[in-house]
């Protein structure tokens, strides 16, 4: 049962990753930006507030 749960968790992560990537490709900044965003490397929005210090 543990292995089945773990397998479905990995399938779920893969499925949601593909779904989010598809959404980001067509409705946000494109494929490359979506990939970097999902890797946690996207442009930080908080930095746009002029947070220079």
């Amino acid at each position: 049962m543990f292995q089945k749960t773990l397998t479905l968790v990995l399938v779920g992560v893969l499925f949601m990753g593909i779904a989010t990537l598809t959404y980001g490709t067509f409705y946000d900044k494109g494929f490359a930006a979506s990939v970097t965003g999902m890797m946690g490397l996207g442009d930080d929005e908080h930095g746009e507030d002029g947070d220079d210090d």
Partner: protein, 170 residues
């Protein structure tokens, strides 16, 4: 030829669990630099929680969709076994597993609702704080549910090693 069959309720729950983990992981990873993707994943978590709570409401006390409430009898049995020195109780289903599941459900409801509120009001700090603490809750849940299977596997491999070593020594 293999016959197709409808998935059982428990299998559907596992699929729901997998999708929730996927949505939560993507939401966590996109929190810093991809707001649109973060919203997409966050709304997915919210939708999945709505499905889970609605199913629990319909199911009532019937497993597996009932809320994971640890029963008093489960705590009593577990406590009695531990008090008697039967630490093998830790290898079975402990009441900590459903309890941690319940805590995760409650925490994620708070995280997603605060995220929803942050779309309209200045609630980002509250949402961030709750989301960061939710990771700790998730890691504790993973540790609790993995502990028993890993310990069982370790015991089994030790028993196998002892069984294969025995004929050589004899």
């Amino acid at each position: 030829m293999t016959k197709l069959r409808l998935p059982k309720a428990f299998e559907l729950l596992l699929v729901w669990h997998g999708l929730l983990v996927g949505s939560y992981t993507i939401a966590y990873l996109t929190a810093e630099g991809a707001p649109v993707l973060h919203q997409f994943a966050g709304y997915s978590v919210l939708g999945l929680l709505a499905v889970r709570l609605t199913a629990a409401l319909i199911a009532g006390v019937r497993p597996p969709w009932a809320l994971p409430l640890p029963k008093a009898s489960m705590w009593k049995n577990f406590g009695r076994k531990l008090a008697a020195g039967h630490f093998s109780a830790l290898l079975g289903r402990t009441p900590f597993a459903p309890l941690s599941g319940l805590v995760i459900l409650g925490t994620l409801v708070l995280v997603t609702l605060s995220g929803l509120a942050a779309d309209w009001w200045e609630w980002e700090d509250l949402h961030e704080g709750l989301a960061e603490s939710s990771l700790a809750v998730v890691l504790i849940h993973i540790a609790i549910v993995s502990f028993a299977p890993l310990l069982k596997r370790l015991n089994a491999s030790r028993a196998d090693a002892a069984a294969t070593a025995l004929p050589r020594n004899a």
